[in-house]
């Protein structure tokens, strides 16, 4: 029977914390950039201008049909060398964190845009009519009337997607970037205590994600009253 030995965790906590900060950095940047870019994509997709709506649909369908791992591999293995050859950035420069942030933002935007599109649709059509009847332009009506209502309806879904994103950032493992999971794995392999470190990291992810999703549920109940 296996004998647990958790002794390597306390010493590793400072490193794990640094890793967690990186995980949160990627998560927060990707949530914000993803929502902004996702909103634009949703608006493009609903635009009467054919070129824009095709671009929006094409983008979303492309990113939704390929695995996140593939997107990350594209960005980690290919984009840096592209940058180096295009902009003459020194090869030693570590582009992995930037690449991760960009990759997650662009990838999540496709998912956010679908949530936002549904949110916009959930606002009744009469609201656009009423805003127009008051003399508002399309842009004003969207910004002042439709999007605020849409976002209000979507907050729980956007947050839930954020929790999924938080978990998915662990996949930066494919670039050996030392996020929380990467650090836990490194410490585990170094000390020969992979079992303990993997279980520990799973527990940490669980506690954070579970609490966050309970908060979302609580929030949802309160606002639906």
């Amino acid at each position: 029977m296996y004998e647990f030995d958790w002794s390597s965790i306390p010493g590793a906590l400072p490193y794990l914390w640094i890793g967690m900060v990186m995980t949160l950095k990627i998560t927060v940047v990707a949530i914000i950039a993803g929502i902004v870019w996702g909103t634009l994509l949703a608006l493009m997709r609903m635009s009467p201008i054919k070129v824009l709506s095709w671009f929006g649909a094409g983008y979303v369908n492309l990113f939704r049909s390929i695995p996140l791992v593939m997107v990350l591999l594209w960005f980690f293995l290919i984009v840096p060398s592209l940058l180096v050859s295009l902009f003459d950035i020194p090869r030693s420069y570590d582009t992995r964190l930037i690449s991760a942030m960009v990759a997650f933002s662009l990838f999540e935007a496709a998912y956010y845009s679908e949530i936002i599109r549904a949110g916009i649709r959930s606002v009744s059509k009469g609201q656009m009519g009423a805003a127009n009847a008051l003399g508002m332009s399309y842009a004003q009506a969207m910004r002042l009337i439709i999007l605020p209502q849409a976002f209000r309806n979507m907050v729980p879904l956007l947050l839930t997607q954020g929790i999924i994103l938080f978990q998915d950032t662990s996949l930066v493992y494919v670039s050996s970037l030392a996020d929380f999971f990467g650090t836990a794995y490194l410490v585990g392999s170094r000390d020969g205590r992979l079992v303990e470190l993997l279980l520990f990291s799973g527990a940490v992810y669980f506690i954070i994600s579970f609490s966050a999703s309970q908060l979302v549920k609580h929030f949802q109940k309160r606002t639906s009253l």
Binding site: S65, P67, V69, M70, L73, L77, I78, F206, S213
Partner: protein
């Protein structure tokens, strides 16, 4: 930029000699399909069972299902995979663990990935099944019971047939997800499609061709599954029902 495109690379023989790079790609595709489909079948069984359990009026049964869902939805897929692959064999009784470790590496990786994907996806299927059942009007259950059907009979003949139709569209998206998520298995060394793509980059120095090929293959899988599921949805649609 001076990149030398060379699509003929796929027809070149690999260093090991027995096949071409295209052969590697196809064997990767085969592993991806086998892994995803086998995991999907288990996920449907587990998720369906747990989903029904979550709605039954028994605190212990629904409690078990709730714990399952919360654990598997709130930990990253990658962590789950590593736990199945690295941790489980250590925690089992020594004899069993050793038996697993003596399997050939491919089988070890495949089984770990299959169980992992199945239970991960099962938790999501479970939630879809539950919300499908809950979205049915309470009246349906009462109507079934009022006719003298037992609770299991009511589930069997009244609730589940309608719930299945309601959850088909969200299940389709879970089915699509399982193919995409299967790429995570490349992290434990399973030579599925994404891993073959990476291997090709290492061997041939033609990253663009190999990545484009892998990406296109995933898109093809996605499209085919979508078309198939649309056909299934169309076939089971209830006349006059909104779904």
């Amino acid at each position: 930029m001076n990149y030398h495109w060379n699509w003929a690379i796929f027809l070149t023989e690999t260093p090991s000699g027995s096949t071409t790079y295209m052969g590697w790609m196809l064997s990767g595709l085969e592993v991806t399909l086998a892994l995803s489909l086998s995991a999907w079948i288990i996920a449907l069984l587990v998720g369906g069972l747990m989903g029904v359990l979550r709605t039954v009026p028994n605190r212990w049964l629904s409690g078990i299902a709730t714990v399952y869902v919360e654990i598997f939805r709130n930990t990253p897929l990658l962590v789950q995979l590593f736990i199945w692959y690295f941790v489980l064999p250590e925690l089992l009784p020594t004899a069993m663990g050793d038996a697993i470790k003596s399997l050939n590496p491919f089988l070890q990786q495949f089984l770990a990935a299959m169980v992992c994907l199945a239970l991960f996806t099962g938790a999501r299927v479970c939630e879809q099944v539950r919300s499908g059942i809950n979205s049915l009007a309470v009246g349906q259950k009462s109507a079934g019971l009022a006719l003298g059907l037992t609770l299991p009979q009511t589930y069997r003949y009244v609730i589940l047939p309608m719930a299945i139709r309601i959850i088909l569209p969200p299940l389709t998206s879970e089915f699509l997800n399982i193919f995409k998520n299967s790429a995570v298995a490349s992290t434990i060394g399973l030579l599925e499609l994404a891993a073959q793509g990476r291997q090709l980059v290492d061997y041939t120095a033609q990253p663009y061709e190999s990545f484009i090929a892998v990406t296109v293959m995933f898109m093809v899988i996605n499209t085919v599954v979508m078309i198939l599921m649309h056909k299934v949805e169309a076939r089971v649609r209830v006349p006059g029902g909104g779904h």
